[in-house]
């Protein structure tokens, strides 16, 4: 077996398993493993046990990458360019879930349904051709919006729903 080869290393990113307790770490990627260094030293995770799920923007010019290690969600956060660099580099190294091979999505169905409601399109069968998503998925999102007080039973956006539209810049 050949020598393990370091591909890249990134410092000053933060690691959490619960989105609350963030620890400053160093993350290194080799052709065999992902290495994470915390104050307790280095931890090695074989590449085949790690997959990248998604990347999300957070406030203050930060981003958070969701990394799945042995079926457990973990979060790596830091400055946006750094986390995107890490995400892009890891995508070149780690195995990817089959439905995301080669494709990177900058969208999500909830945002699209919210936008349809904002523009007065409320029935799932009308929302469907606009957002090009499955009927069942749209119905489930609408149910969630009703539960969370984002829209009424009739699909009219509440003040909370409108606020989300404005704050998130969905408009």
């Amino acid at each position: 077996m050949g020598q393990e080869k370091l591909l890249f290393k990134v410092e000053d990113v933060y690691f959490s398993t619960n989105f609350k307790d963030w620890k400053k770490i160093v993350l290194a990627s080799t052709d065999l493993n992902v290495w994470i260094k915390t104050d307790k030293g280095w931890k090695k995770i074989p590449n085949e046990h790690v997959s990248i799920s998604e990347i999300k923007d957070a406030s203050g010019g930060n981003s958070i990458m969701v990394m799945v290690i042995d079926n457990t969600k973990t979060f790596i956060g830091g400055k946006k360019p750094k986390v995107y660099s890490l995400y892009n580099a890891l995508m070149s190294v780690l195995p990817t879930a089959s439905d995301t091979v080669g494709a990177i999505k900058f969208t999500d169905a909830k945002r699209l349904v919210l936008k349809a409601l904002y523009h007065g399109v409320r029935r799932p069968e009308n929302i469907m051709p606009l957002v090009k998503r499955d009927y069942d998925e749209i119905v489930s999102i609408l149910e969630e919006f009703k539960r969370e007080g984002i829209c009424t039973e009739a699909g009219i956006l509440t003040e909370k729903g409108k606020l989300i539209m404005m704050e998130e810049g969905y408009k």
């Binding site: 080869k5 360019p81 995107y84």
Partner: protein, 448 residues
């Protein structure tokens, strides 16, 4: 010694590779955990080294290695660390016995260190004990002088091997300047057998990071007016896309950010575009990797700057034998539709809501110039909102939903900057922003 930070990184990586193997070797000898402290890369002269390791009760071992790469490794055992090692491996009865055992431990650690380097660079490196006149060595500066280290010092890699309550030894390692430069050009095997040299391996991620940072600067600085987003979508349908200002901005921005030599955006189908990157720098920087940096750059631009969701898929890459790197962009229809309609579209759709009509009738009833009607219908047909059947024009089921959507579209007020797509001015704004805003203090965690 005039070495770049890049060369320091090279020394750091070589030191990391070697010292982790030395620690592994010590751990095996002691049958217990051995940790490595974060390495320090610094120019150290004799007197500085005394400050770092102390000058009392120290047992020292020195090894040199040579052939393809030459350098020196020094192990300094503080008394407590030396005694702990001694207790674990043989309980020596005298200081000279302890010294002999530690020299043996050091030789094993030095061999592991050198073997790791030898394997990594796939070159022959042999370890040996330097021939020194021990009668002349009474202090650490004497030792360094005997090893040929000048009074001004050399660039050392320094770490300590320890357990939770004791430091077993301090490890110092150096290469001469010429050797550092040489190892940066030693060829390594990259992914898929692509050869690359050590400095390229170290630098590739840094270079991608620089591109990411430039992309980020552009995304944070560019503001695209709604009218420009609308023109982009409409020119895709009726022609004039080649001169579209937003299209040209995307292409220029990606070139200026360092993505590739030439970037062109082409229409593939309604709401589907192809971004072609010739002379792609990204896959050249990440061995064996795909161009995710390009995908995320263009994806983020659509989502963050144009408010249009998008899925980006690389369909061709130079790394996989393609002529260029090609990314396919699929835009979210609802996002595109929220900027697409003009007042004329809504007038026409209001008429067609009542039933199919012929062009002449639409022109008469809409009270709009024929050219304007023709152009609007062409856009609406392209996006599947109306369809022609013979001379008749009718609204599609998608058109009916689109009309509700378009009628409820709230006009967006915005301050339009005439030079929104002037890349030179955008770069000037980035520069002045960087000069005027101090680096924010880094403090985690952030608030969601």
């Amino acid at each position: 010694m005039n070495l770049s930070s890049f060369a320091k990184d090279a020394l750091r990586e070589v030191g990391n590779i070697g010292s982790s193997h030395s620690a592994g070797s010590l751990s095996e000898i002691l049958s217990s955990k051995v940790e490595i402290t974060p390495p320090v890369i610094d120019i150290i002269a004799g007197k500085d080294m005394v400050e770092r390791v102390g000058d009392e009760g120290m047992i020292v071992s020195a090894y040199t290695f040579g052939d393809a790469i030459t350098g020196t490794i020094l192990f300094f055992y503080p008394l407590t660390g030396a005694q702990r090692v001694g207790q674990r491996i043989g309980n020596p009865g005298s200081v000279s016995e302890l010294d002999r055992l530690l020299q043996e431990v050091s030789r094993k650690m030095a061999s592991s260190f050198v073997k790791a380097i030898s394997d990594f660079f796939a070159v022959d490196v042999k370890v040996s004990s330097p021939k020194l006149d021990e009668s002349k060595i009474r202090s650490i500066p004497d030792l360094l002088s005997a090893l040929g280290v000048s009074e001004n010092g050399v660039l050392f890699f320094n770490t300590s091997l320890q357990d939770s309550d004791v430091t077993y030894c301090h490890l110092f390692f150096y290469l001469n300047e010429e050797d550092i430069r040489r190892i940066m050009n030693v060829e390594l095997q990259g992914f898929e057998g692509e050869p690359l040299n050590f400095s390229e391996l170290l630098g590739s991620f840094e270079k991608v990071f620089e591109v990411e940072e430039r992309v980020n600067d552009f995304l944070e600085t560019i503001t695209v007016p709604v009218a420009a987003r609308r023109a982009f979508l409409r020119s895709s349908a009726v022609g004039g896309f080649a001169e579209d200002r937003l299209r040209l901005l995307i292409e220029n921005m990606l070139v200026r950010a360092g993505i590739g030599e030439k970037v062109s955006l082409e229409i593939k189908a309604p709401l589907t575009y192809r971004l072609r990157v010739e002379g792609c720098h990204i896959c050249a920087m990440v061995p064996g990797g795909a161009c995710h940096t390009t995908s995320t750059a263009v994806g983020r631009f659509f989502m963050e700057n144009l408010k249009i969701g998008v899925t980006v898929r690389e369909v061709e890459c130079r790394n996989s034998g393609g002529e260029a790197c090609v990314h396919e962009l699929s835009l979210e229809q609802i996002d595109a539709f929220s900027v697409l309609p003009t007042a004329s579209d809504i007038v026409l759709l209001n008429l067609l809501e009542k039933g199919p009509m012929q062009l002449q009738e639409i022109v008469q009833k809409s009270d709009l110039p024929k050219e304007e009607v023709n152009e609007a219908l062409k856009v609406l047909e392209y996006y599947g909102i109306v369809q022609r059947k013979g001379d008749e024009i009718r609204m599609t089921p998608l058109g009916e939903v689109f009309l509700t959507f378009a009628r409820n579209a709230y006009p967006t007020r915005e301050e339009v900057q005439e030079d929104w797509d002037d890349i030179a001015k955008i770069e000037e704004r980035i520069k002045s922003k960087k000069e005027s805003v101090p680096e924010p203090e880094e403090k985690p965690p952030w608030e969601m």
